[in-house]
Symmetry: C2
Subunit: 310 residues, 2 copies
C-alpha cells in the first residue's frame, strides 16, 4: 500500500463573498494528501520556499504525509489569490505568483519509486511525464490537468494519456481535449486517445465515470452549509485514490466505489475553510455520510423492474 | 388507477441550432400525457382553438389519452416560438401567443372527479386551485409552476402548497419560492410552507428529491444524441406520476422509484423531436434503460462500508 502525489503546495488568499481576504495553506497536492491521509499514508513531491511556515510542515507531518520529497528552495512559496462570487461556485483568479514553483523539477526519492498508486496533480505535462519515467512501474495512475496545459502543451499532454488509468477533468476540459461538445461523446473520445477511464467532474452536480467497462453516475452529495469550495477537486481525487490504495483493487467496480469516497470527501471539503478543517473530519462521520449517500441512490431496482414488467 | 392532467396543449415553433424553424405539437399537458401514456391512461383537461388539427386529436386518441376534457374554443391554439442556443440547454422565447388559452377556465368532467393522481401543470395558480376544488379527493397531487406565477401570484401559489404531494420546480424556482440561495435549504423551506415533498429539476444534471422522509438523488441519464430538450420537464413529471398511478403506492420509496422512471422518460424525450417521437419509445427499450440507470448508480455499498471499517 503506497500512494504518491505530485503537485503544488501553496499559500492561498481567499476572498469569500462579503468577507475579508484570508491567507490559508493551499495547493493541489496539499488538498490531495490531506484528503488521502484519512485512509492512506500519501507521499508528497512538491516544492516550497523559505517563507513556508514550520507549523504548516508540522500539520502535514502530523497527518502522516511523507515529506521526504518536499523540497525547500530559495524564494517564495507559490501564492494564489482568488475571489469567489456570491454563488460560491464561480471565482476570479486575482493573482498567481508561481515563486519557487516556476522552476520546480520534481525529484521522486528512490524509496518512493514503484508506488501502487500515483497521482499526477496539475503541473506541466512534461513534468508529469518526467515523474512517470522516474517512478517506474505503477499499478494505477490518476492524472489531473487544466485548460492552460491542454491549450499550450497539447502534444505533451496527449502523449501522457496512454499511461493514465483515471483522468480527472471537468466539462470544459474534456470538451477541450476531445473537441467534442457532448460530454459523453467527449469522454469516449478521450478513451480512444488512450486514457483507460475518465471521470468528468461537474462541481455540485457530481461526476460521471466513463470507461470501456461502462458508465457510472455520482450525483453530488448536497450540503446546506457551503463555506469554501477551494480544494474540492483535489479532495475528490485524494479520497478516490486513497481508497484504491487501501483496497488494492483497481477494477471497474472498485473505481466506482472509490469515486463514491471521492464524492463524499469533496462534500466535506466545501463545508470547511482550508485543509486543516478537512483534516478534522472523523472516520465515523465519513462512514455515516457514505452510508447516507448510498441510501440516497438506492432505488430498490428489483421492485422497479418488476413493476415495469406489468 | 386514474391519472388526470391539466395544462396546455399548444403548437410550438422550435428553432434548433443551425436549423430552420419547425412547427410541432407541444404544450405541457401534451408532453405529460404522451409520457404518461406509456404506463397509464391519462385524462386531459385543456383547451385548443379552431386551428387544432384532426391528426393531432387522432395522435392523442391513439395514445389512449382521455379527451372528454379537451375543450375546443373559438380562436387559435396557444403558440410558442423558441430558439435554442448552441448548447441545446439555454433558449430564448421569441413569441408566446396565448390564443384561446388566455381565457381558459378548466372544467373537469364529472366522470373524472376523485382521480387517484392529479397533475396540475403550469397554469395560473388560481386555476390550479379551481381544479383542486372541482375534483374533490385525490390520492396524490403533483404540481408544476413557473417563475412568472411565483412572482405575480405568490399568495395564490403559496395557498396551494399544503395540497401538493410533490412539487416540481427547478433551481431558480425553488430559490424564488423560498428566498433561500442554497438549493437544499430552499427545498426544506418549501416543505415548511406545506408541500409534502419537493423535486428540484436540474436539467441534464438530474434531480433531487427532498421530503421529510429523506433525500434522494437522481443523476441525469447521459445521452450522446440530444435532439431537442423541449418537453423534458413535463415528460419527467408524466413518467413519474404515471408510475405512481400504475403501482398505487404513494410512499417515499415508491416516489423514489417513480422519479427514476421520470428521469429515464426525460432522457428519451430529449433524444427526439416532438411528442410523436417520444410516443415511439418501446416498453422493452424503456425497461432496458431503467436497468442501465440502476446499474450506473449501483456501488456495492455493502463492500464499500466494509472496506471503510478497516
Amino acid at each position: 500500500m503506497s500512494l504518491l502525489s505530485i503537485g503544488s503546495v501553496a499559500y492561498d488568499i481567499i476572498e469569500l463573498p462579503g468577507k475579508e481576504p484570508v491567507k490559508v495553506l493551499g495547493g493541489s497536492a496539499t488538498w490531495f494528501c490531506t484528503a488521502a491521509s484519512l485512509f492512506s499514508s500519501p507521499n508528497l513531491v512538491a516544492v516550497v520556499g523559505n517563507d513556508f511556515a514550520n507549523e504548516d510542515i508540522n500539520f502535514l507531518r502530523e497527518r502522516k504525509i511523507g515529506l521526504d520529497g518536499l523540497e525547500r528552495a530559495n524564494g517564495s512559496t507559490f501564492h494564489w489569490h482568488g475571489r469567489y462570487h456570491e454563488d460560491l461556485i464561480s471565482r476570479d483568479s486575482l493573482r498567481t505568483d508561481l515563486g519557487v514553483f516556476a522552476d520546480f523539477v520534481p525529484k521522486v526519492p528512490d524509496a518512493w519509486h514503484s508506488p501502487d498508486v500515483l497521482f499526477l496533480g496539475n503541473i506541466k505535462p512534461d513534468l508529469q511525464a518526467l515523474v512517470l519515467r522516474q517512478v517506474g512501474d505503477v499499478k494505477f495512475v490518476g492524472l489531473d490537468t487544466i485548460e492552460l496545459w491542454i491549450e499550450t502543451c497539447r502534444e505533451d499532454f496527449e502523449a501522457l494519456l496512454p499511461s493514465v488509468d483515471l483522468l480527472f477533468v471537468n466539462d470544459d476540459e474534456v470538451r477541450q481535449i476531445s473537441l467534442e461538445n457532448n460530454v459523453l461523446v467527449a469522454a469516449k473520445k478521450v478513451l480512444s486517445m488512450g486514457a483507460k477511464a475518465v471521470v468528468v467532474k461537474r462541481g455540485e452536480h457530481g461526476a460521471i465515470l466513463v470507461s470501456p467497462d461502462g458508465l457510472a453516475l455520482f450525483p453530488g452529495f448536497p450540503v446546506e452549509n457551503i463555506v469554501d469550495p477551494t480544494g474540492a477537486g483535489d479532495s475528490f481525487a485524494g479520497g478516490t485514490l486513497a481508497y484504491l490504495d487501501l483496497i488494492q483493487d483497481f477494477g471497474f467496480e472498485a473505481v466506482k466505489r472509490a469515486l463514491v469516497v471521492g464524492t463524499v470527501m469533496g462534500s466535506f471539503c466545501v463545508q470547511g475553510f482550508g485543509p486543516r478543517a478537512l483534516a478534522e473530519v472523523k472516520m465515523t462521520d465519513f462512514r455515516q455520510r457514505v452510508a447516507k449517500y448510498l441510501d440516497f441512490v438506492d432505488f430498490n431496482g428489483k421492485q422497479l423492474l418488476t413493476d415495469l414488467n406489468f
